[in-house]
């Protein structure tokens, strides 16, 4: 079964990959500027920005860029936030405090520890009253986020924001999740024929192993580093930087074969 999906917008947040322009530069082979200023969110006030949990700071800028490029108000599309590990900073805080002084646990940090903190803040910040959901598929969260986004597009016939993110771990969690760099990418998908698309993708479920045409070394290193960055080859297809097919695979279940549609 083959599905055509319009891409209305994309956004990024990662060291050296703070927006579409830096992605295009990297795809052209230029080195990543990792001392760049982190992407910021315009939905959050400066005060909220300081207090927001790490998952929010990481995911909002990419999601906002994607919505802006799509010409949609942030609250308009349905939204899916997919992350293998969620907010690793808060996980570290929660477990450390519980081990040392559980009665001192911060109520705010606790309610920010839910996996849907980023999506919850998004619904509040963007005023999104439709479905805003949070998924995890461990290291396969990019593939399953895209799959759920495509599924929603097909069944609900309306634009869907897909945000895939994972942070770098702190403390002992680094032994479990040894990513050196945070990564977040966001796409706004719509049923084909929506108009205003920056690319149209042909997506099929298949049973093939992961593969993609080679990308510049710096980007390949990010794909190795952080499983959320497995979305990079799809972004490269959208930008027309590579030809052919990208297969996003999961440990179990179908893979997605993605091509750029003429």
């Amino acid at each position: 079964m083959s599905h055509r999906i319009d891409i209305l917008g994309l956004g990024l947040a990662a060291p050296g990959l703070r927006d579409r322009a830096s992605l295009q530069a990297a795809l052209a082979g230029r080195p990543l500027e990792t001392n760049d200023k982190p992407s910021t969110s315009s939905l959050l006030s400066p005060r909220e920005r300081r207090r927001a949990p790490a998952a929010v700071k990481l995911s909002f800028p990419a999601a906002e860029q994607a919505c802006a490029m799509a010409g949609l108000e942030p609250g308009e599309p349905l939204a899916i936030f997919s992350s293998g590990m969620g907010d690793l900073d808060i996980t570290d805080y929660m477990c450390r405090t519980l081990a040392e002084a559980p009665e001192l646990l911060s109520p705010t940090r606790f309610h920010n520890s839910v996996h849907n903190a980023a999506s919850g803040y998004w619904s509040i910040g963007a005023g999104a009253t439709g479905d805003v959901t949070a998924l995890s598929a461990w290291r396969d969260s990019a593939a399953l986020g895209l799959l759920e986004g495509m599924t929603r597009c097909l069944t609900d016939a309306r634009p869907v924001l897909v945000v895939v993110y994972d942070d770098r771990a702190v403390g002992p969690m680094r032994d479990l999740w040894p990513s050196e760099h945070a990564f977040c990418a966001a796409l706004v998908l719509a049923p084909a024929g929506h108009g205003g698309a920056i690319a149209t993708l042909q997506i099929d479920a298949c049973r093939e192993a992961a593969r993609h045409p080679a990308l510049p070394e710096a980007l390949e290193a990010r794909i190795e580093d952080n499983p959320a960055a497995r979305l990079l080859p799809v972004l490269a297809l959208i930008e027309g930087a590579i030809d052919g097919e990208v297969v996003l695979a999961a440990e179990r279940g179908p893979s997605l074969r993605v091509r750029r549609s003429a």
Partner: protein, 393 residues
Amino acid sequence: MNSDLFVSAMTLCAAPGAGLDVLRRALAERRSGLRPNDFAPCTLNTWIGRVEGVEDTELPSELRGFDCRNNRLAELGLRGDDFIERVEILKSRLGAERIACVTGTSTAGIGSTEAAYRAMGQGEHFDPSFLLPRVHTPHTSSAYVAQRLGLNGPVMTISTACSSSAKVFAAAARLIEAGLADAAVVGGVDSLCQSVLYGFHSLELVSEHPCRPFDRDRDGLSLGEAAGFAILERQPEQAFGRLAGWGESSDAHHMASPHPEGTGAVAAMREALDRAGLDPEAIGYINCHGTATPMNDQVEARAIRQVFETPPPAASTKGWTGHTLGAAGIVEAVFSLLALNDARLPAGLNIEQPEDAWADFILTEARDVRVDHVLSNSFGFGGSNCSLIFARS
């Protein structure tokens, strides 16, 4: 093509015990599964819905890398009501590649991460025995269940706090509608851990008594744990009910408290009714989320009154099971489907002083009535709402 989806099998393991028969007995005897907190090392003065026997449940040896309380609870849950056998039959009919696995959770294996930190002391690295990457991710139970059952369709976890395992029904229905699967195993698993006990304590939402949903003196929740599963498929020979509709919405209001007017809850219920093509009068019973915090119950009742001119009989499961968070949705779905099948509408437990005006539709005694449609509400942190409607099949 008949796109109707039916619940052809289901099972639940929660504080009252494992399996539907145990649950039915508990309902008939009005026997709560709540007990004074004995979940070490937590010393809070509260009541909990701990499941007996989780500690002694062993995972199949080839799945040891998944060993944690959450997956032991999942394993215990899967063993109920011939569920594993039913999945085997389904696999032989449809093929493992055509069956999706979507489960919901909030805490997943975090209890093991907490234990790793406790064992680490002042160090900065986990003891190698705690380095179980498959355990310390929210995805652990879906990955475990899919591998345990040999399912090879799409495998994903929904983690939207307390609406998680209601939303699995909607997600699975979409996967089937989009042609990515022909059936799905859905469910939810959430196990007790220090994070939620001390976390809800820090929010001053934990009661020192067994929780009392919709009682005038309700003063907070009792935390519990549960694992429940269902098979969603087209045209089975027998079914507990048909998934008639669902609604998913966001409050867009606050991370930890519901919109005071219940706008998200109202939207979820109305969307579920629209999708089911039903007028509110068609609903014969509502399984409330009913967490027993002073505010949540009032907001939910207010939302129900906005949707239903005369609300049908309703109750909350929490007096039996405690609030099982990411597993609440599946607990609520199973209670709702039992109400539909047994023609017996469960009442709330621990209601000594019923609220009069605004919650007069809450049952304090079970009622033997055959109804055609039940609505099940699940609302969570982050303002995430899901309502499900099941119809008699």
